[in-house]
Amino acid sequence: MTRAEIMNGLTEIFRDVFEDDSLVLTEDTNANDIDDWDSLMHITILQAVQGEFNVEFGIDEITSMKNVGEMINLVESKLK
């Protein structure tokens, strides 16, 4: 799966979670860029991402993730 494909999957998830079809992500997008992206929404996102790509994140991995780019890195490394 390419980074672009993972980005597409993430965009779908973010649009569903925030109920906003116009939402556009970049690798730099982080919690400060999206209203409502609080710690609770973050849990929902992580749950959806793990389900969507059928991967599992460890506690240390979850805590070190800073933006969408790092989320893609993590998914990519799990899929290898």
Binding site: I13, D16, E19, S39, I43, T44, Q47
Partner: protein
């Protein structure tokens, strides 16, 4: 909206909760509004989000209060202005085993273990009493899930010092409290965890990362469980299971396979599964569930199937049996009217996806779960929580009888006046012939198959049939019935012999009279008698002699000849009876069937 039918699509519910909420709020509904306080011993945000959806689905618009993380006890016992001002209609105490502050250890004596148990229990009773005093509203309390590890292995459950043992006892104490206090309900977290799968449920990532008491993916199920209790408290339980018959209550199709051919009862695995499902429904009557039938079948076949000796449910278990060829949604609406209930209190249970689709589309407020394969039926219906029992009354047990009377009265009113009209609406035509070669086989088959509507139970081979037909002293009649739904084929067979007594009086002696139960109450037997009497007259007979030989199955025709004006002339100890009719006194029966 099927989002909440079991099994839940939990990933979708979690991810799309905002969109689903919008959709639910847009529906046309008589909302009731309730204030729900969730006092948590762990993070409860997702519980509240999911519970909000569940309640909206039940027509309850809830406003929520959540205690600060872990403050469930302080909020209740020490007080909290915000909670006081909120003044809840219902309180959920959302705790888990993680909130048990002290467990006994192997260093404790059994007496000390009991003291620890009492003190943990007291911690909660103090809370409940404070909440009751202050708010006097229903309290829903989680019992405890088990940790997924056991310090002493199997000993953990039987040793007083084991955690599993301790939790089991604490849960029992909670149950006793619930039994002795009105307005106090247990949300059975212990069951939910087991049902979900304890290891997956207890994935500790969710506790250590977010302080959720269980796997996030399990939360829609927990919310569903709490939602069931709440909607039940506010009178939004279902009331009626509307059930299909063929491949729903038994395996096979009774109209085709015959009563002997359907799978129900202990003989084969398939029959066992259906019997267990019937037993489940029978047991559900104990909590007030009312059963009705909505089946595409001849009514007689439906009744015959329900009277199968190995069946658990009998015709009397149903308040209403709609076995006909009407669209199922129309039957449902009719049942609702007869019982004076709303269709929103109905659960429609049918193995056929096409029928489910029609009902979903035509009467959307009926619950129409995808019941899956027969071995899934119980699980799907049970997990639907349709009959969550928060109150249990003597009336629940009598419900079937009450609705029975109601439905019967309504039906009599509705149909008595126009039964003839109903028969006319079937647009029946009949063709009555002798035993022509082309139907010989069918006639012989009927004599060997028909048990119920069969006066003499005379079994015949094709040769027997043929020789009757070829014998001039015999009158042989086979009736074929066609209605607007189907050509039922040859459904009735009558044969008699003209005999002459010593006084040279000719009489027709009826050797054979049978009819398929599929066409019962259509007036076909009346048409046959009219025809037979006319034929007997042309053969110079002045009397007709009928016989009834009782068997285990043909009780329904015991008085058959009496209904046509025959007089019983003899009857022996076994019930074998002879009837006679003076042809001159025969009154033609009115029929609603056209003759070809």
């Amino acid at each position: 909206m099927g989002y909440f039918d079991y099994p839940l699509d939990t990933a979708y519910l979690l991810r799309k909760k905002r969109g689903i909420k919008k959709e639910l709020l847009a529906k046309d509904c008589n909302w009731i509004e309730k204030k729900v306080a969730v006092l948590g011993g762990s993070t409860t945000n997702e519980v509240v989000s999911q519970l909000e959806l569940v309640l909206l689905n039940y027509g309850i618009k809830a406003e929520f209060y959540q205690s600060e993380y872990g403050q469930y006890w302080q909020d209740g016992v020490l007080g909290n202005e915000e909670l006081d001002a909120f003044n809840p209609d219902i309180i959920v105490v959302y705790t888990s085993w993680r909130n048990i502050t002290t467990f006994p250890t192997t260093l404790n004596t059994p007496e000390e273990a009991t003291e620890i148990l009492d003190s943990q229990y007291k911690h909660f009773t103090t809370l409940w009493e404070a909440l009751e005093k202050k708010f006097n509203c229903p309290i829903i309390q989680n019992n405890f899930d088990r940790p997924n590890y056991r310090i002493m292995g199997n000993r953990d459950i039987w040793d007083d010092r084991g955690r599993s043992n301790f939790i089991a006892k604490l849960n029992l104490k909670f149950s006793e409290y619930a039994m002795s206090h009105e307005n106090f309900y247990i949300n059975d977290l212990d069951y939910l965890a087991a049902d979900y799968g304890l290891s997956a449920w207890a994935d500790s990532t969710y506790w250590h990362m977010y302080k959720y008491a269980c796997n996030l993916d399990a939360i829609p199920y927990v919310a569903g469980s709490i939602g069931n209790i709440i909607k039940s408290i506010y009178g939004k339980n279902k009331k009626v299971f509307v059930l299909d018959l063929d491949n729903t209550l038994w395996g096979g199709i009774v109209g085709d396979d015959g009563v002997e051919g359907i799978a129900i009862g202990p003989e084969v695995p398939m029959g066992q599964v259906y019997a267990e499902f019937q037993q489940y429904l029978k047991d559900m009557q104990q909590v007030g569930a009312v059963l009705a039938i909505d089946s595409k079948n001849e009514h007689e076949n439906a009744i015959a199937g329900l009277n199968h000796p190995s069946g658990i449910l009998k015709p009397d278990d149903f308040v209403d049996i709609k076995a006909n060829w009407e669209p199922k949604d129309r039957n449902i609406v009719e049942i609702a009217n007869e019982l004076t209930l709303g269709v929103d209190s109905f659960v429609f249970v049918d193995d056929n996806p096409a029928e489910r689709e029609i009902v979903k589309a035509q009467v959307p407020s009926v619950s129409v779960p995808d019941i899956g394969k027969v071995d899934d039926y119980i699980r799907v219906l049970d997990h639907g929580g349709y009959f969550e029992t928060t109150t249990l009354s003597k009336e629940d047990l009598a419900k079937t009888a009450q609705y029975h009377a109601k439905a019967q009265a309504a039906q009599e009113q509705a149909s008595f006046a126009d039964y003839g009209e109903y028969l006319d609406s079937l647009q029946m035509t009949a063709e009555i012939t002798s035993f022509e070669p082309i139907i010989l086989q069918r006639v012989a088959q009927l004599t060997n198959k028909s048990n119920q509507f069969n006066l003499t139970t005379l079994r015949c081979t094709e040769d027997d049939i043929k020789s009757m037909e070829e014998n001039d002293s015999h009158i042989c009649l086979a009736g074929r019935l066609i209605d607007k739904f189907a050509d039922n084929g040859v459904v009735t067979v009558v044969a008699g012999e003209i005999v002459e007594n010593s006084a040279q009086v000719k009489a027709l002696d009826i050797k054979l009279w049978l009819m398929s139960c599929r066409v019962l109450k259509r007036g076909m037997e009346d048409l046959m008698m009219n025809t037979l009497v006319a034929e007997a007259k042309t053969k110079g007979a002045s009397k007709i002699v009928g016989h009834y030989y009782p068997t285990a199955k043909n009780g329904m025709v015991k008085e058959f000849f009496g209904d046509f004006g025959f007089s019983k002339v003899s009857e022996d100890a076994d019930g074998n009876a002879q009837w006679e009719l003076d042809i001159a006194s025969y009154e033609q029966k009115e029929v609603h069937i056209e003759s070809k």
